[in-house]
Each structure stands twice: as structure tokens, then as C-alpha cells.
């Protein structure tokens, strides 16, 4: 191995290829190996909505970006190393490579036909391009074929191993060993030793090939080991973390977990994950549609379960009427919305934060509920747990907003002990309580009591029609005003039980950066870099959206300049303005189906500071 190793704080590697080229797997194997050898990591899959779009077309390109090193907040802006397995992925992904990046292409795939399918009319490797990037033209396909034939493997089998050759090159270039991945292959294909042998051989061949290429020798980069709090760690995606948070909340609250959902990108994996855990008591129901998903959850909630439904934007639209029913019946319910690009079907596999208004306001009548948002793939666990805690203790539906970036992306997760999580005390009624009334409220929180079918002496009826506090129907005008006030006040009073909003960065700055939900990684890094460069910037990031923390106004009023950054057209900014009209706010918005990049944020903040 070469001696001139470049040491960097972090490295971004992007794997791009045709759908089916195994790019998601290569990315996962690289990030897992990095995590196990001491790097902090964050990943971002960027894949098309089509399962297998026509071979070698731009539409079929699937990408997976991995950011490894120390203090990794996001999946990174542009990459240091790009792997492009065919002309289409080269063409569509080069814009994600830093100038000077190493670009590894499978040169064997650059046939006239494939280049033409990708839209090239001339040789893509111009002198100008070769000056801008270090392009390694690796014969990935032919080397893989050679090994496949040596081992007598089927063409269909060895063609699927091309990604291992590319991964071998990447392991060499990032100064990593192959043993983690060997162990994975041995586990994954335990029953197919010939597949293990073939994959290992191709991986090794890629590694050894890299050792012989001069261009690679001068570009070996090692990412710094992460300084992380002591503890036990694992890699986790946001959707799995959400599912596990709900399981933990069920165990801690003693309420059965019920999930009623319908498959929808990018939220499906929450249901897929919970479906595996009947052994832990998870009762999962794949409903006939989104409406049945939430309605089954409402029925389960009435019957006493920690009831949840998971969805994405269009699904949340379908659930609107039923959400109103959950508000009216004041039943605990967790609705997970893994946001994607909208409106309508929009950009199903891309990320956005544009369901905020729908979460806040998307129901008929005065229908307040609690809205919270996760801000990293790993903390989806805690926000799912917290959403369940609020729902059960305050007897209210709670919408948890995550997004495609958090849900599909992965991060290191410091494993907690369930016993160390905050306790959850559902507001269960006492059987045969002669004073039980369906809408009798706790004087502090305004939450009603939860009387479950099966409990003696508490039979009662709930429903969508307005009721009076004692339970029966009422169309009395004063009663409707009172019940409307009570439902709102109950949600408002959740703010009494949430921590104060915090400001990080330089609190004495003139400029306050405001973010919410899934953009925390890029925003935190941009603010940190600005302050390191001597530019004063303060930063506050919201997870509690409705109600807002009580000190929100105090924070906003302190700063001369405020910029609200979000992946939509300004929905959170608009929400803040209605509550704090005295605070002028600028906006930085991006609606491209993509996460923020640190660079663009810094440019924006620098410009505002200069104004």
C-alpha cells in the first residue's frame, strides 16, 4: 500500500450506478465497515421511483452517498470520491463531485450504445474534464467477468458482483481493510459458499487493482476517527429508529403497540420493520388503504393500544378526516409522516419538508393537535418515543414529522437502555369509578381519562359528533364553544411539559438561524464553520412545532436578523410570523427534493450578515 496517505477530518464517497447494480448495498457495506472501524457516519440514498427503469438510462440511476469521519452531522455536500458504474450515472452524478475529486468509472460500460442512451454524442472524457477530476478508468466488468469465469460461475451471478470490485477500490482508497465485509458476506450467503467465494475474490481483485494504479496512489485518503461519547453504538436508519422508538414506548407504557398502515414511499419501512416484531408484541395491520390505516389505529386506540399509523404526504391527506375524529374523540394516536416531495404524487423518493402546513392545519373545523419533528436519523427513535409519550399522557393525536432524508438515511446511534428512558403514564380510568365522565379533564393538562372497553362500569360512547363534558351528544352553542376551547387548551398546555428551546453557535450574534426537523445536520455544520471562521451566527433548531416551546418568542425577539431555513416555500416561517408578528424574518428555502448543502447555507448567511 502506498505511503503517502492524506489525512482528512472526513470523506464523502458517492456510489452511483444503474438500479440493480447494487449501489445501495455497496454504500451500506462501506458505511458499516467505516462505523465498525471507528468513524462517525451518515448516509443518504438517492434512488429513483422506478424499481428498474430501462437499463443504462438516466432515469434508472441509483445513488448512495456516505460521509465518514469525525463529527459527522450530515451526509455531506459534494463527494471526494465518485463511483460511476455506467455512462448514465457518470453523466448525472458528476455534479455531486468536488472539483479535483477521484472519479472511478467502469470503462467497460462506455460502449457507443450505452453512451448514446445516456445522451452523450461525443467522448465524455474531454481534456477539460480530465484536468478537473482524477478519472480512473477501471475495467470493472472485464475483471469481474474474468474471475467469474475462473470460478465457473454463471454470467447472471458474476454480473451482480461488479459492485464488489468497485467497493474493493474504495476500501483501498480510504485505507480500510476488507475483513468486515468478508464477515458480512459469510453471514449473508452462509448457505451459498460459492457465492461467498466469488464475492470475496472480486472484492480482493478490486483492492489489488487499486494498488497497481498510479493515479489512486496519490489519492489515498484516511478519515479521522470519531471522538464520540462512551457507549455502545450501532448503525440505524431513521425509519427503523422510528419503529424501535414506538416499540420502546409500548414496552415502557405497558400498552400494546398497534400499527395500522398502508405501503407508501418513503414510509413503508416503518411498517416493514414493525412487522418483524410480533415477538415483541407489535400488532401490525396492513390495511386496504390509508384511511383504513388510520381508522384501524383509532379503533385500536379506543380499545386501549398505543396506536400508530405511518405514512407520507399523500397518505396524510387521505387521513385528514379521520385525524379530525381522533381530535374530537380525544384519543391517543401517533401519526408518522415521512415527508417527500409534493404536491400530489410529487417526488416520492426525494425529501422535502412541505407537509408542515398540512400537519398543522389540514383538517376541517377547529382541530388542534400536537406536531413534533425528528432532526436526525438516529433521533427518530427519541421523537417517536416522545410522540407516543405525549399522545398517551395528554390524550391527543400527535403527528411526528420525519422525511425521506432522515427515514432512508442512516447514522450512528448510541444505544440507550429502555429503563433509562422517561417514564410514560397513560391516563387510564379506574373501573367502576362512579364519577367517571368521558370528558372529565385533568385540571393541569386538560387531558381526559381513557376508559377501555372491557372495564366494568365505564361503558360510554364516543364519536365525531360534539359531546358535552358528561358524554352525551350536545348541539348547545355554549357547550361547543367550551369544548372547542378545551381541546385547544389541552394542546397548548403540552408546552408546560416540554423543555425550553436552546440556542447554539454564538448566542451573542446579530444573526439567528432558525431550522426545524430534518435539516439539523447541514444547518449545525454551516453555523459551526461560520463561527470557526470568525463570523458570529446563533442557531436554534425546533423539534417541538405545535405547541412551540414557551421561550420561543423571547429567543426570536433577541436577534436583529433572523433567517428561517427549510425545504419548502416558507411554511415554518409563516407559522412563526402568525405568532410573533413583531419579529421580521428572512427565509432560505429549497424545493428541489434534496437536502441542504453546507456551502449554500454559508453563502446565504454570509450575504445576510453583509446586508
Amino acid at each position: 500500500m502506498a505511503e503517502n496517505i492524506i489525512h482528512q477530518n472526513d470523506i464523502v464517497v458517492r456510489f452511483a450506478g444503474d438500479s440493480g447494480d447494487g449501489m445501495q448495498l455497496s454504500g451500506t457495506l462501506f458505511s458499516d465497515a467505516s462505523a465498525l472501524t471507528g468513524n462517525d457516519i451518515a448516509t443518504f440514498p438517492d434512488y429513483p421511483a422506478e424499481i428498474r427503469a430501462p437499463h443504462n438510462t438516466i432515469a434508472g440511476v441509483s445513488g448512495y452517498q456516505v460521509h465518514v469521519g469525525n463529527h459527522i452531522y450530515s451526509s455531506g455536500d459534494k463527494c471526494d470520491i465518485l463511483v460511476a458504474m455506467n455512462p448514465a450515472s457518470f453523466k448525472s452524478n458528476l455534479k455531486w463531485a468536488k472539483k479535483g475529486a477521484v472519479v472511478i468509472v467502469d470503462i467497460d460500460t462506455f460502449t457507443d450504445e450505452a453512451m448514446s442512451k445516456a445522451g452523450y454524442t461525443s467522448d465524455p472524457f474531454t481534456d477539460e474534464l480530465e484536468r478537473e477530476y482524477a478519472i480512473v478508468k477501471a475495467p470493472v466488468t472485464s475483471f469481474t467477468e474474468k474471475i467469474g469465469k475462473e470460478q465457473g460461475a454463471d454470467k447472471k451471478v458474476y454480473e451482480k458482483c461488479r459492485n464488489m470490485f468497485a467497493l474493493g477500490i474504495i476500501f483501498y482508497m480510504t485505507h480500510k481493510q476488507l475483513d468486515q465485509t468478508f464477515a458480512y458476506l459469510e453471514r449473508k450467503f452462509a448457505k451459498k459458499p460459492e457465492v461467498v467465494k466469488l464475492n470475496k475474490a472480486v472484492l480482493t481483485e478490486g483492492y489489488e487493482y487499486a494498488d497497481k494504479v498510479e493515479l489512486i496512489h496519490s489519492h489515498i485518503i484516511e478519515a479521522a476517527h470519531a471522538e464520540m461519547p462512551k457507549g455502545r453504538y450501532r448503525n440505524i436508519t431513521g425509519n427503523v429508529a422510528t419503529a424501535w422508538g414506538l416499540l420502546a414506548a409500548s414496552e415502557r407504557s405497558g400498552r400494546r403497540l398497534f400499527l395500522g398502515s398502508y405501503p407508501i414511499t418513503p414510509a413503508t419501512d416503518v411498517m416493514v420493520e414493525l412487522s418483524k416484531h410480533k415477538g415483541l408484541g407489535a400488532r401490525v395491520f396492513q390495511a386496504e388503504d390509508e384511511i383504513a390505516g388510520i381508522c384501524s389505529a383509532i379503533g385500536a386506540s379506543y380499545a386501549g393500544a398505543l396506536a400508530c399509523t405511518s405514512t407520507s404526504g399523500p397518505g396524510l391527506s387521505l387521513k385528514s378526516e379521520a385525524l379530525g375524529l381522533a381530535v374530537m374523540t380525544e384519543l391517543p394516536l401517533v401519526v408518522v409522516d415521512v415527508q417527500r416531495g409534493g404536491p400530489s404524487t410529487g417526488l416520492p423518493t426525494k425529501t422535502e419538508q412541505s407537509d408542515l402546513n398540512q400537519a398543522l392545519y389540514g383538517r376541517n373545523g377547529e382541530a388542534p393537535l400536537v406536531v413534533v419533528a425528528a432532526s436526525s436519523s438516529a433521533n427518530c427513535f427519541y421523537w417517536a418515543y416522545n410522540a407516543a409519550k405525549i399522545a398517551l399522557e395528554h390524550m391527543t393525536p400527535v403527528i411526528l414529522l420525519t422525511d425521506g432524508y432522515l427515514g432512508n438515511g442512516s447514522q450512528l446511534f448510541r444505544i440507550p437502555k429502555v429503563a433509562d428512558l422517561p417514564s410514560i403514564t397513560p391516563r387510564l380510568a379506574t373501573p367502576n369509578d362512579p364519577n367517571y365522565r368521558p370528558f372529565r379533564r385533568d385540571p393541569e393538562t386538560f387531558a381526559r381519562e381513557w376508559a377501555l372497553p372491557g372495564m366494568e362500569g365505564l361503558s360510554h360512547r364516543v364519536g365525531g359528533l360534539e359531546k358535552c363534558p358528561d358524554g352525551p351528544l350536545s348541539t348547545d352553542p355554549e357547550n361547543h364553544a367550551l369544548m372547542t376551547y378545551n381541546r385547544q387548551e389541552k394542546v397548548n398546555r403540552v408546552a408546560n411539559n416540554i423543555p425550553d428551546q436552546e440556542v447554539t453557535g454564538n448566542p451573542d450574534a446579530d444573526l439567528l438561524v432558525v431550522g426545524w426537523g430534518g435539516t439539523a445536520g447541514a444547518l449545525a455544520l454551516a453555523v459551526e464553520e461560520m463561527n470557526n471562521e470568525g463570523k458570529k451566527v446563533a442557531y436554534t433548531h425546533f423539534n417541538y412545532i405545535c405547541p412551540l416551546p414557551k421561550n420561543t418568542g423571547d429567543i426570536l425577539r433577541k436577534y436583529k436578523k433572523i433567517v428561517v431555513c427549510e425545504l419548502n416555500n416558507g411554511q415554518f416561517a409563516g407559522y412563526l410570523r402568525t405568532q410573533f408578528p413583531e419579529c421580521p424574518m428572512k427565509q432560505y428555502n429549497k424545493i428541489m427534493g434534496l437536502p441542504f448543502e453546507v456551502g449554500e447555507l454559508k453563502d446565504c448567511f454570509t450575504k445576510i450578515l453583509g446586508e
Binding site: 455502545r232 450501532r234 410480533k278 400488532r283 372491557g454
Partner: protein
Amino acid sequence: MAARHFVPKAECEYTKADFQSDQMVKWCPGCGDHAILASLLNTFPKTGHKKENILMVSGIGCSSRIPYYVDTYGFHSIHGRACAIATGAKLANPELSVWVNMGDGDSMAIGGNHLIHAVRRNQDLNITIFNNEIYGLTKGQYSPTTKFGQVTKTSPFGTIDYPFNPGELVMSAQGTFSARALDCVPGPTTDIMTRAPQHDGTSVVEVLQNCMIFNDKTHAAITDRAVRDDRTIVLEHGKPMIFGKEKNRGIRFNGRCLEAVTIGENGITLDDIMVHDETTEDTGIHMMLARMCGELPAALGVIRNVKEDSYTQLYEDQMDECMATGKYKCVDDLLNSGDTWEV
């Protein structure tokens, strides 16, 4: 697999009065719903189920007010969604005896999707459809069961929609229990409703109900006292299909279709009359029976009642199996599973 019963048995004998609620019944005087309510109140003591474990779920419409008039746990939900809400409640707690009440519009128009999927799943739900062939609460628009050509508020020139036959719909959706009853004869209706919870799986009882304000006498051609015996047949398992005032009419399968014949005429004897078998797996004859109208008497009673493992049983068996053999005993086990490392 042995059928499991999840609903706890009553510890005392209930009467109809135990299920009467203190709420004023607000249906129109003379509405068929009053009689159906009476049948249900008579049914609950006969089920032997513990009262606290009975849950009534309804949608939206006149009939869906029924949970307020029964002293059990109740959920008056939103239009069309009663089946979905009931499904979740039963899944969350299989010990509940769950009853779903819907009208024809509620169950087969806006809620049609939920109905067919509930039926195909065969979960332990007792569904009653109040079929008055009209939207009553919105004052007289045609429904999915309104007779073809009928003039209503939204079909001033006559409907051109072909109506659903609820029994046929249920059986097409692989229903395991399908019955039909009349609002005006509470005794037999109670008998039919009592059989519904004895069936493991989804039971659907269609009750022909009269809306005297917006669709009066829609079922009169078969339910009028003067013609009822000749225009309806009460099916009983294992008994020949005989009907008519004189009990001399019967149903015969002529190799192609069903026909009504008179015993003693044209050489027809009792041996020519079909014997009702509600347990036949094949839906063919059951579908024909559900469709009978016009020259043929409308079928009442339990048309189909076949044994099939219920979703409730399959679900609970799977849960028990997974919990007994699962790799993880608690969430901590799961969190620490797979690749983890210490820093």
C-alpha cells in the same frame, strides 16, 4: 386447528333492559330502525358475552346513531369507516365482541372498500347492514341499493345505476356468513342476529329496513303482510325450501337455475324440492338464493355459513407463536442485536 374463543362469558344472565341506554331515541316514529334496535337488544343477552366486552361501532347515517341507544361501549365514527375502526379495535383486544352497524350508503358506497376487505379477511366481526335503499339522513338521494329506474332527489329522471345486492357482494368477497332479515319481524331477526356471533369470522346480516319518510314501502312488495308468505322464503339449514301461505310452494334447481314450483302440480313432490345447506363451500347456490326476486321469493334467514379459520384466530395464533419463540424478549435485546460496538 381448533377454534379459539376470545370473548369472555357473562357471569350473570342479562335481560334486554340491561342493554337499554338512557338516551332518547331520535329516529322518526315508525322507522324500521326501532324494530332493529329491539332485535339487537334482545340479541345481546342471548350471546352470553360479558356486557363490558361488547363494542358497537357505526358509521354515519340514521342507523349509525344506534350505539347511543345501547348501553355498551360504543363508537359512532365517520362515514364509511366503521369496518376499519372495528377491525383495529378487535385486533387491539380480541376479547371484545365487536358489532358493526351501517346503512346501505355507509357500507356499500363510501365504505364499500372497507366492507369487502373486512369480509375477505374474515375477522370476528358481526356486521349488520340496515338496507333501506336510500340516503335518509341527507333526505332522499339514491344509494347503491336503490332499485334501477327509481326517481329520487338526485335521480329526477330515474336512476341509471345498477344496484348492488348485498348478499351477493358479501359472497363475492369470500364472505363466510351471509344472512337476510326483515325489520318488521323482530323475532326471526333476533334469531338470525344471535347466530352471527356464533360464527367464527365475519358475519353479515342484511336487514331490509323501511324508511317511511324518503323511501316508504320500498320493500313492501315482499314484506307486506298480505304477500309476505308468498314472496319470501325463510331458509333453514337441512330443511326443504318450502314457502307460501299454504306451505305448498318450493324451490327446485332445474339444472340451470332455481325455479319456484308447486308441490302436487305437474308431478312435483317434496323430493323435488331443494334442501338448504348453508355450509356448502361453493358459493353457486348461495349466490342464486341471495339473488332470488320477482317470480322467486326473496330469501330470508342464514343463506351461507361456512367454516374457515378466522383472521382473529390466525392472528392470535401467530402472535402467540412469535412471542413464545421470538429471538428478542424485550426491546433492549432488539436494540443490541446485530452489529454493535463499544466506544
